[in-house]
Assembly symmetry: C2
Homo-oligomer: 456 residues x 2
């Protein structure tokens, strides 16, 4: 039997884990300094919690779990009275936001609102696998629910800056507001087509403005409306300039003006706490981007998307995104609780850090010293010392077999272990051990205290 | 819609996560001092990798994933030409050992053998949920493959001791050997029924010796053999005593004597590295237990099981187990690679630490200081200071809304935040902030440096 794994999934070997843990640990430590508490939700959710939350396309991409019991037998017997619920009633989580909304409603009585939670877990989507797109991938989410203050949006933008500053990756933080998009739909006379317009605009990056216009026409947006849309989505200038222009364009739209006001407030806070980030600056410039739409339907206010803006990288795709959702818990029975959140795509961030050689040196993380094995008696003596080193927090191993020294040295090399200790019958008597620096090849004779000192 | 989660699964709230992370972090740090490298494998495996590895019962407990595409439609239409592979070809992992064996075979050319790996991930079993038994639960595994030295078994026993010493939980480490069980089957004249005998003995703890004997009879083990089995499984004395008795009992069985020899070697090493643990001692006594069987078929040598032995706990169930498997990678096409491993059951350990109040105090983990919000201007000023504290690694928050003070204090209490800072227009001018110790109620006026000093 040839071993294999499902397409779109990956094994993470030791070197991959060091990289992933580095990204997770960085993001986690910043989430924690911002006062976010960790939760985790089950991999499986009831399908009724997931279906209808991610649009038609999302429903198709859910991984569904076959019910327990004799379902497979029934299917093979061609039982045509099986309903969906008889076959499958659970699915793997598709993102962390909907399970979080479900969590908030179920645990509302235990939560001190506003609730700041973070969650770092895999999600699963039955997408067509391709380079950089996986069927199992990892999201790192921070959300605040129970407050509609724009200080929350400001905190999330600060987190994004801190994360990429720590990871030494230049990024561009794009911000827009669904209410501005609603206002634009309204003033071009296509208020009812806000979803189509959002979905089309969301593709701007990938397909360009001409194709977006074509899609809008296909969806039934009038020629006149498309013409009126052009100057708006081609708007440029500083964030303050854009806000001034939008005030003029959207003056007859109530939601549009509300969106502009929210953005003025948010950029007002950001200008003061990150004065250097208003225009292009390292590590993150912050930009009001009228063409930013984001596909998910549950967003109602600010939307945020982060793109790599680092001259060392060829990537242009989104590596973090989020926004405000005023009524996500409403579908689970708790209306009136506004939330806002962001999600870091750990896999893409890892791919980019790989591309630009942006990971630190991890050699300190693995085994520090290997004790050679010269036979049972010496090995037992060595193992006692290995265990004493472990008690001191030093990562140590005894080679388990009394193999040829070439093999034992080869193992130390293969695992990049920096030191080896040789204890033969002579060394057992004298208490002076042979210590070999595997990089320099230098050998010395050391007693226990000295050994401990070198390895610490 | 009433929110719910699948039965047998759990949400982990902030308090649960602190406990779980404490257990994971403890185990992980010990795995690392023993030179184990971390890997992770996908939640989904191809069913061909999983089926047939866990016995008939295990196959029934696999969670299977419905294939993508129009499978559900076909089922509803009663298409009776659907084969299993058309309906489902992936399943959720059932344990970490089989995916690890699959990993070793697929990545054999990248691995420096002997390979010491650890893996901490959830597994899924469609078991009937009950108290302490979940459908999604967490295993913490350490395995060494590519060496049949008994020093590996000794390392794993030391890890178990270290983990429970660190967790301050008294345990009893039971050790047996499949070859001894094979020898016993042989000398009682039932060599062919080794599996039935193993499965029955494995239930000794739960159902007692009488019911085990009944089950043996039902499975067709002869009355004579059952009679001959009794003195063996009722054998007692010190580990050395038992080994002496076994040598007599098993003298006509080649595998049996090989098992005794292995156990003599292992206990010989353990006696020297843990001289205090031979008999009952804190935190772990190590006991040769002839009735220990363990259900899984892939074990071929030493088997290990850890039970709580702490007067504060009522639990008697297994919290860690493992053993040696000589040919697990063989089924995936790489024969001749022996492995040995252990698996800690994090969920049961957590339940027990809960029972005995064995968790440390986690209050230092969450937000350290909350800044009150007195309106936009004061809040922006406060947020700048909050961000400076975060830069210093201090977990800090601004209350996002200019709510009534009662509500803001209530939030700090609810989240057990130890300090609050109040900055009104007066404080903005003077640079002297009001700092309140939330536990004592004491208030003081401090400048930035002093604030930093108190919070650090």
């Amino acid at each position: 039997m040839k071993p294999s794994i499902p397409k779109g999934t990956r094994d993470f070997g030791p070197a991959d884990m060091l990289k992933r843990n580095y990204i997770f640990d960085t993001i986690r430590s910043i989430f924690r300094t911002y006062g976010f508490d960790q939760i985790e939700t089950p991999a499986m959710e009831n399908l009724s919690m997931l279906e209808g939350k991610y649009g038609e396309e999302g429903d198709k991409l859910l991984f569904r779990i076959l019910n327990s019991g004799p379902v497979l037998e029934k299917i093979r017997e061609g039982k045509n009275d099986l309903k969906q619920g008889d076959v499958t009633e659970k699915g793997l989580r598709y993102d962390l936001t909907v399970p979080f909304a479900r969590y908030v409603v179920m645990h509302q009585n235990e939560i001190a609102f506003p609730f700041r939670r973070y969650q770092i877990q895999p999600v699963w989507r039955a997408d067509r696998p391709q380079k950089g797109r996986y069927r199992e991938f990892f999201q790192c989410d921070a959300d605040i629910v129970g407050s509609d203050s724009l200080f929350n949006e400001a905190d999330l933008v600060s987190i994004i800056r801190d994360v990429f500053l720590r990871l030494r990756l230049g990024v561009s933080i794009h911000i827009n507001n669904r209410k501005i998009l609603a206002g634009i739909s309204e003033v071009i006379g296509e208020r009812e087509r806000i979803v189509d317009i959002t979905v089309a605009l969301d593709k701007m990056d990938k397909i360009g403005i001409e194709k977006v216009n074509e899609e809008l026409a296909v969806k039934g947006v009038s020629e006149n409306a498309i013409i009126r849309l052009q100057p708006i989505i081609r708007m440029h200038g500083s964030n303050a300039d854009k806000l001034e222009q939008l005030k003029e364009v959207l003056k007859n739209s109530t939601p549009g003006m509300k969106g502009v006001e929210e953005m003025e407030t948010l950029f007002g806070i950001l200008d003061q706490i990150h004065p250097e980030a208003n225009e292009h600056s390292y590590p993150a410039n912050i930009e009001l981007d009228i063409t930013l739409a984001r596909g998910l339907n549950y967003y109602t206010g600010a939307i945020i998307e982060v793109k790599v803006a680092d001259q060392r990288s060829q990537f242009t795709s989104s590596i973090c995104g989020g926004g405000r959702y005023d009524d996500l818990t409403g579908i689970f029975g708790l209306p009136g609780v506004s939330g806002v959140g962001i999600s870091f795509g750990a896999d893409r961030i890892s791919d980019i850090l790989d591309e630009i050689n942006g990971f630190p040196d991890f050699t300190t993380e693995s085994t520090r010293v290997l004790f050679a094995n010269f036979g049972n008696e010496e090995a037992v003596f060595a193992l006692k010392m290995v265990n004493r080193l472990r008690d001191e927090g030093i990562s140590a191993e005894l080679f388990p077999d009394a193999a040829k020294m070439k093999k034992q040295f080869g193992y130390a090399d293969g695992r990049k272990i920096p030191y080896m200790v040789m204890i033969g019958s002579e060394e057992m008597k004298t208490g002076q051990f042979t210590l070999k620096n595997m990089e320099s090849g230098e050998q010395s004779h050391v007693a226990w205290d000295e050994l401990l000192h070198v390895l610490k």
